[in-house]
Symmetry: C2
Subunit: 253 residues, 2 copies
DNA sequence: CGCCCATTTGACAAAGATCAATTACGGTGG
DNA sequence: CCACCGTAATTGATCTTTGTCAAATGGGCG
């Protein structure tokens, strides 16, 4: 899979914090990406965490594999995919990130990023310098613990993905995917039944370990069975219960 | 997959730290599970982290899914598998852990463990209470950062597993598995060519998203091709280069 | 408005799963 | 110490699922 838009020399669209009125303390995403229930004083400290934001056009890479690690990123608006590449040219989408999700945690290990993060629609992220995050976390136990929860959440999410790839057949994979997306949209205040897919069939296929034709056929099958209505990227979930039955296996929590 | 040994009421084999001579500061695993290059004073603080150890017989569970989270565990000796269960009775092995590996990071997110960790041979772990770890980490930046690296390492490892499950065929999966195991044994000072597999074909299959028959056939194929020598659980790597060619795709780092 | 790319759908092939039978270990008890 | 039993592993035959190749259709963007 080649990147649809090639952005040879990346132009950083950095916005200085001073220019923006909105700080962390007033960001409507803070329940998703930063701790809730902090004191006023703590929130002031956390505001110092975000030095700048960055805007990306569809197709632009936030991180490339091999990049030096210095920051993690919180998605404010838009949609990303993260990809790991192999030395023989294959690649594998490991996740789709939307508002409130955190990107870049893979880089902490070796100070190098092992995966690429590309915007699949025009997006904006908060840049969170890691050294600063660790420094502030040392003084705010709730922030420290919340950051650990964020990393743990990523581990659990990947466990679920491993379960999906290791033990589900195509219909179960796609049904799980749709239900998961639906839940994430719902938790962000969007409709849980109507959705516009931000990704192509090929990208869904990569994420689910299937070929694009299989994804397409399975969409058609679900449509014939009255579970969903599909019109290209527009998907309407008609029968959540039926779809859950298709997904069958769900991680017990 | 049922647990081979049923341990109905788990008997905790807790060893008080006072009883053991070996502390973290003198543990030969500390490069794997705790930061290196700390000052004397810091090492003394870290010694206070490990309150006790726990021994497990083969087949005993260290963690069950749904258990309340309070500690993470560092494997001292032995071998573990971690499993996620689905509500329809399937399960999926998400990892094998050996000395120096850390288990239980999935529990931080919701204070509940989402996966089970079972000893697949007689084992011993250090119990690291999370609240204590966070407390000490606040005072030792190097420890704080090292813990983040450990979590990041787990995320990267799972990324690799997703790549394997999502894009490799059976031969590539098994070759990658063997090479990975070989590397991990080597880094622990064991032979990288001779190994005794601690897990069954079915467990390998679960981990690799294959059926046990496929695992067995692929072992036989590699053996016929002169890449390895297999005798049940004893595997000898005869041709690392050839095996690497089979694995083909490797994550670029 | 037209071109390019994404998507859909069909026909066929291949990888791996399933079902089944046989063999080889390893631990236990006589 | 050895025989036995149950489990693990191997191997074969067949079937299912998904991948591959190909062609047609449909949208969206410039």
């Amino acid at each position: 899979m080649k990147s649809p838009q090639k952005s040879p020399v990346e132009k950083f669209s950095v916005i200085k914090a001073e220019q923006l009125k909105t700080a962390c303390s007033s960001c409507n995403l803070r329940e998703l990406c930063l701790p809730i229930g902090l004191s006023e004083g703590d929130m002031v400290k956390i505001d110092q965490l975000i030095q700048n934001r960055r805007s990306l056009k569809k197709g632009e890479s936030l991180i490339r594999q091999g990049d030096h690690f210095s920051s993690v990123y919180a998605v404010r608006v838009g949609f990303f995919k993260t990809i790991v590449n192999t030395d023989d040219g294959r690649d594998q989408i490991t996740g789709f990130q939307m508002s409130g999700d955190v990107i870049g945690l893979d880089g902490i290990q070796t100070d190098l990023h092992t995966c690429e993060a590309m915007a699949i629609e025009d997006s904006e992220v908060c840049v969170i310098p890691m050294d600063r995050l660790e420094e502030i976390a040392r003084n705010i136990p709730a922030l420290q613990h919340h950051f650990h929860k964020i990393m743990s959440r990523e581990i659990v999410r990947e466990n679920e993905q491993i379960l999906l790839l290791g033990s589900m057949r195509s219909e179960e994979r796609l049904a799980s995917f749709l239900l998961n997306l639906s839940n994430r949209l719902k938790s962000r205040g969007f409709s849980q039944s109507e959705m516009i897919l931000r990704m192509t069939r090929e990208e869904i296929g990569s994420y689910l370990g299937l070929k694009l034709e299989t994804v397409s056929r399975t969409f058609s099958k679900f449509s014939e069975e009255g579970l969903i209505s599909v019109q290209q990227k527009a998907v309407l979930i008609l029968d959540t219960k039926g779809l859950s039955l298709k997904a069958k296996a769900t991680l017990i929590e």
